[in-house]
Symmetry: C2
Subunit: 111 residues, 2 copies
């Protein structure tokens, strides 16, 4: 299938995972895999969280973002691919002056 | 972590999954998730295969491609996201006159 994001409404998720501001996202989820297009305004963030049963792949599609990954600070530029394997912890922070946009994939990896 | 594809050599995989020509790809794999940047020349393809233990998400980053998904023909344009859930069958065919490039993610979903 092709995920038609034009048919998925963007929803606002305030303090997502305990972060600041709101995550704005179009999300597809079939119970086994979440595929989303997200946007964070300046100052907004997805809070620190641990991937207990799944992993996450984030492709930054515009802007510059900061990730705290297992206590290490990473800077993502547009086009970069961040991988948080199952069992690891991360956040996503827009500490820039422009919106950031990203595609994120969260596949379940426990039966 | 950030997957640094500039540090991963592109390898050629002739007749990948029984396809035509060669898949050229930079692949990251940690045993739980494969993340790749791939390229198919005109006429090249990844053959039909079923995802028995994992799923696949393909983001077409340039060009136009054809996917045969569970017997249905799909046309992917740059930016489109194709999802092949676990248990389903697909191919990826470059039947255009230009190279296609894509990012693909194949997470294992069976313990």
């Amino acid at each position: 299938m092709i995920i038609d994001f034009s048919q998925i409404a963007e929803a606002s998720h305030p303090q997502f995972k305990g972060g600041e501001g709101a995550l704005n996202a179009r999300m597809y989820f079939d119970g086994k895999c979440r595929i989303m297009k997200g946007r964070l305004a300046p100052g907004a963030s997805i809070g620190l969280h641990t991937h207990e049963t799944n992993c996450e792949i984030i492709i930054l599609t515009s802007g510059t973002a900061t990730v705290l990954y297992d206590g290490t600070r990473l800077t993502l530029h547009a086009g970069d691919i961040h991988y948080c394997p199952m069992g690891h912890t991360h956040s996503l922070v827009n500490d820039s002056k422009d919106d950031i946009t990203f595609t994120a994939i969260v596949p379940e990896q426990k039966d």
